[in-house]
């Protein structure tokens, strides 16, 4: 436990140092990274030695702050460390010490959310994250970035108020804030008040986590912000809400709710992405669609499903980061895939784009193949299997579309700025195999059978065929931009709240 706290401390000090001594901003961040790496390594060693563990900080007995060390914690901490390394490498030469400061603070909060196992602690870390990520979104000081930031701020602050109301309801009934304690007090059959409280807390987390109807701020925020900001937001910041949901899920009977909202999120994100025209926006929609997989994994309620969800959090952060970095390296901001992009893509960008896309389309042996198939194996009923199949098909459709048009652009020569992309590509390509080899889990290794591989490749080929069929009508369609305007986003948030409330009242 102490090693992860040391990681938080080392990132915080790196942030303060890079602000105070702006000449040493890069070295200070590097030292912060080393501290976090050491902390993660020690925590992993501890986990291997003594397994998952829950501890209570402070000497207030049952009211102390609970922290937890399990596979989700470790995967998220490793994700933060890896993304930190490559974005830092990519940022090299950036003169803005203030940016380094916010960036390091965001990684500090990511370490502290990884081991939070306390309702109020989650609230504080998530609010801290949203303040920092708003600063990152608006960092370029362009009008559209400021607008995306203020939209995120309004929606998320409202949602966190709802989280606080839910927390009050749960605390009144149960009298504890630590999730482990709550689990033992509430038992298997929580009453209506507790369910309502959990539902409200779920709304707060859903807004942060990129879930359809709740986080309509997401496409604007990701596609308008700068490259490194988009990597950190989609790789780290969105995952805060999802980690909160993973922690909350065992408390109430949220399983069916998560399965339904996960399927809706996946399908809606996939439809948006298939219709999308701007490269960065397609990636933002795709983040929404992949969040669906995580929710379905958690919603199955099986231990295997939660493992798959945590693995998908980890791998998705890596390959989506790679894809955003590839677009950023090529200097693509807006433009239409059907013609108005006239960019020269450096070779490193093309490599990153292809590796990231193959991984997210679940082609073996790239990393996405493992996490997606673990979620498929966790089950959750027949209809969930069809939804997952459709999601795989849709992912193939929009990534083949993106690659088709971007790879057709002329190639540029290799620039030294492309090295971090190549490094991250190697990690994305092999992290799945390495994870399977290190943990030696039967489920991961059995995925390397011929039947699984053929079916996965078959889905992608089918996606390509479908794209060939629908390519002509697709050119005329577009996602209407007004769907994501502030007022419509608020209205869809309330639709979502009403749906959750009615779902709780029925069950």
């Amino acid at each position: 436990m102490t090693p992860l706290l040391a990681g938080v401390f080392s990132y915080l000090s790196a942030g303060v140092l890079s602000f105070l001594y702006s000449r040493f901003r890069f070295r200070a961040s590097l030292i912060g990274w080393f501290g976090a790496l050491a902390g993660t390594a020690l925590a992993i060693a501890r986990y291997v030695r003594s397994g998952p563990l829950v501890r209570t900080l402070g000497s207030w007995g049952a009211l102390g702050i609970e922290i937890k060390l399990d596979e989700t914690t470790l995967l998220f901490a490793s994700l933060a460390v890896i993304l930190n390394f490559f974005t830092l490498w990519y940022l090299r030469g950036n003169k803005d010490s203030y940016f380094y400061c916010i960036y390091n603070f965001l990684f500090a909060t990511s370490f502290s959310v990884a081991f939070s196992h306390d309702l109020f602690n989650l609230y504080v870390t998530i609010e801290l994250m949203s303040l920092l990520s708003i600063l990152l979104i608006g960092y370029g000081r362009k009008g559209y970035q400021i607008y995306a930031g203020i939209k995120y701020l309004l929606i998320s602050s409202l949602a966190m108020s709802l989280y606080l109301i839910g927390l009050g309801l749960v605390y009144r009934e149960a009298g504890y804030l630590g999730i482990e304690q709550l689990g033992s007090v509430l038992g298997d059959n929580p009453g209506f008040t507790v369910s309502l409280g959990l539902g409200l807390m779920l709304v707060g987390l859903a807004v942060k986590g990129g879930i359809f109807l709740f986080s309509m701020w997401l496409p604007d925020a990701y596609s308008y912000s700068g490259t490194v900001a988009a990597v950190v937001l989609s790789g780290i910041a969105t995952k805060f809400g999802l980690i909160g949901i993973i922690r909350l899920a065992p408390l109430g009977k949220l399983g069916p709710l998560l399965l339904v909202s996960g399927s809706l999120t996946g399908l809606a994100g996939a439809v948006f992405a298939i219709l999308g025209r701007r490269p960065k926006r397609i990636l933002a929609y795709s983040t929404m669609s992949q969040v669906g997989y995580v929710l379905i994994g958690v919603g199955t309620g099986a231990a295997l499903g939660v493992t798959g969800a945590s693995l998908h959090l980890f791998f998705h952060g890596l390959f989506k980061g790679l894809l955003f970095l590839s677009l950023g390296h090529a200097g693509i901001v807006g433009g239409d895939v059907y013609g108005t992009i006239s960019a020269v893509l450096p070779r490193a960008s093309k490599v990153g784009l292809v590796v990231g896309s193959l991984s997210i389309m679940a082609i073996p042996p790239f990393s996405g193949y493992f996490s997606k198939n673990v979620i498929v194996q966790a089950g959750g009923g027949d209809w969930v299997r069809y939804v997952l199949l459709f999601l795989g098909l849709a992912t193939a459709i929009y990534y083949i579309k993106l690659n088709w048009f971007l790879l057709a652009e002329p190639s540029g020569s290799f620039a030294p700025g492309g090295l971090p992309l190549l490094g991250l590509s190697a990690i994305v390509a092999f992290s799945g195999l390495v994870t399977a080899a290190i943990t030696g889990e039967g489920e991961l290794i059995s995925l390397l059978g011929l039947k699984n591989i053929l079916s996965s490749v078959g889905v992608v080929l089918a996606g390509g065929a479908v794209l060939g069929l629908i390519r002509k009508p697709l050119r005329r369609l577009e996602v209407p931009g007004f769907v994501f305007d502030l007022n419509n986003a608020l209205i869809s948030l309330f639709t979502g709240i009403l749906l959750i409330a009615s779902f709780i009242a029925v069950t």
Binding site: L63, F120, Y123, V124, E127, L128, L131, I134, L135, G138, R141, K142, G143, Y144, I146, Y147, G149, I150, L153, L154, S157, L158, S161, L162, L164, I165, L167, G168, L169, Y171, R172, L177, Y224, R278, V333, G334, G335, D336, T340, G481, D485, L486, N487, L490, I491, F494
Partner: protein
């Protein structure tokens, strides 16, 4: 009594939410958000209070009921967070007003989209 005040705070939340959706002025939206946050704090303090409770100061003796001090301690944190949110959002509004000379959200959205189209391509 406590239930009545809790109900009132929920009503205030609804008023704030209505303002948040119905007002077109960005500054009004921020004020409505602040109303929601304040009502939440009111709710959070009252949720564990029952009539006759004393303020949780001093040592508990026989026959004296103290209000649960934990939510009141926690709520300080969220007051500070709300202050941060308000300050940051006012700053962002200031930047938007400086650039577009209006507080009307629909106009701002139109300007923003046009600006992105021009810069992106």
């Amino acid at each position: 009594m406590s239930n009545l005040v809790s109900a009132i705070s929920v009503i205030i939340v609804c008023v704030g939410v209505a303002g948040l959706i119905l007002k077109r002025n960005l500054l009004m939206k921020l004020l409505s958000l602040n109303i929601v946050n304040t009502a939440t704090i009111l709710f959070f303090v009252l949720v564990v209070y029952s009539p006759g409770d004393r303020a949780p100061i001093g040592t508990p003796g026989a026959g004296i009921q103290f209000a649960d001090p934990l939510p009141q301690a926690l709520v300080l944190t969220s007051i500070v967070i709300n202050f941060g949110v308000l300050a940051l959002s006012l700053l962002f509004t200031m930047v938007l007003v400086k650039r577009y000379h209006t507080l009307d959200l629909r106009k701002i959205e139109k300007f923003v989209k046009r600006e992105f189209e021009e810069e992106g391509s």
